[in-house]
Symmetry: C2
């Protein structure tokens, strides 16, 4: 990410045509469209609603994106990009599996808590609306993340030197459920601060995985 | 539930007017409408779609239910009734908090796994679509369940005689996340059987809560 360029960007840039900005312009459209889908539901939001929200004509929006389903795909793909960029990429090279898993959990919690009302809610819950090849592509990315979690859990269990207490796959989905469910109830402004939440969930997860240490 | 009556019921009963069957008829409408909402989304499904699916005229459907929002409320309320009838009512009187919590978790897992594609998915994910007084009523029922879980967790922690390792509220939401997320990935026909899943999640949860015993 080139920060000097980011600082110059604004809604007006949506209408600019420089290829260098094309990537960021698509993301801006995705962020705003995700909000419209969030408010009206995927079926309830029209391309006209979205065009208006991103200050494009309907023809312009179709030119940029192609179709409503393609737009949903772009949003979900962008959601996975964010997971990749802000969580997975930062932890993949960590040699110690326990540390890698801890930082993955903390990073994923941070992502959900920050992005709560936005594209992430859509990516998590509108996956019934994608069909065919686009759905397969998104599901493949989701599966890759699950496998990364599962494999890291397996390594943590092996490192502990004790017999595994739970199947890595089940522990991986337990973590995902705890974390992805946060958007349903957790409000950063409430009594429980994010650092407290992250520590409590991490502690809970590792006790569940390994028992007391 | 009067089983002899249940065995006689069918789609045709939807059109019958006996007051004794009114309750069951509403539930049948809710079950079918939930499937339509599941497939088309709340915004995408019309009252005409639902009337057709339940073999009523649109006027007949409005007569029974009132409005699309009211129908969503009825479905969510029915979902909470099922939770109440099949899980909470059976465990509330269990004196031992540990046993009460174990059976609540097992019952809730069973509920989600059984009802996966249906009204429960809708109740869990369309709660943005309800507004005002109806939303408040559903949220109050959800909150009551959370408080029941939270209070039971607190009693389990006290019973253990050790300092609590996690706030009851956070442990309650960790359990809810693990369980409610199941509909996203768990398929009863897969490699992991339901009893195995329930035991693994229960063990994981109680280790997370109390550490090794």
């Amino acid at each position: 990410m080139v920060d000097s360029r980011r600082s110059q960007r604004g809604t007006a840039n949506l209408l600019m045509k420089q290829p260098a900005d094309a990537h960021e312009r698509r993301r801006e459209i995705c962020r705003i469209a995700a909000r419209v889908f969030y408010e009206k539901g995927f079926a309830g939001a029209s391309m006209q609603d979205i065009a208006k929200a991103v200050s494009l004509t309907k023809a312009g929006l179709y030119h940029h994106i192609g179709s409503k389903e393609r737009l949903l795909y772009e949003i979900q793909n962008y959601g996975m990009d964010i997971l990749e960029e802000t969580v997975i990429r930062k932890v993949r090279a960590i040699a110690d599996p326990r540390k890698r898993l801890e930082q993955t959990i903390a990073g994923h919690i941070d992502l959900i808590v920050r992005a709560r009302d936005w594209e992430l809610t859509v990516i998590l819950h509108e996956n019934r609306s994608l069909k065919g090849a686009l759905q397969k592509k998104i599901n493949a990315r989701k599966r890759a993340y699950i496998h990364f979690l599962e494999e890291t859990v397996r390594q943590v269990e092996q490192q502990s030197g004790r017999p595994a207490l739970i199947e890595p796959r089940l522990a991986a989905f337990a973590a995902l459920g705890m974390i992805n469910w946060l958007y349903q109830w957790y409000h950063g402004e409430g009594r429980i601060k994010q650092t407290e939440l992250a520590e409590a969930f991490s502690g809970f997860f590792f006790r569940g995985l390994l028992g007391s240490e």
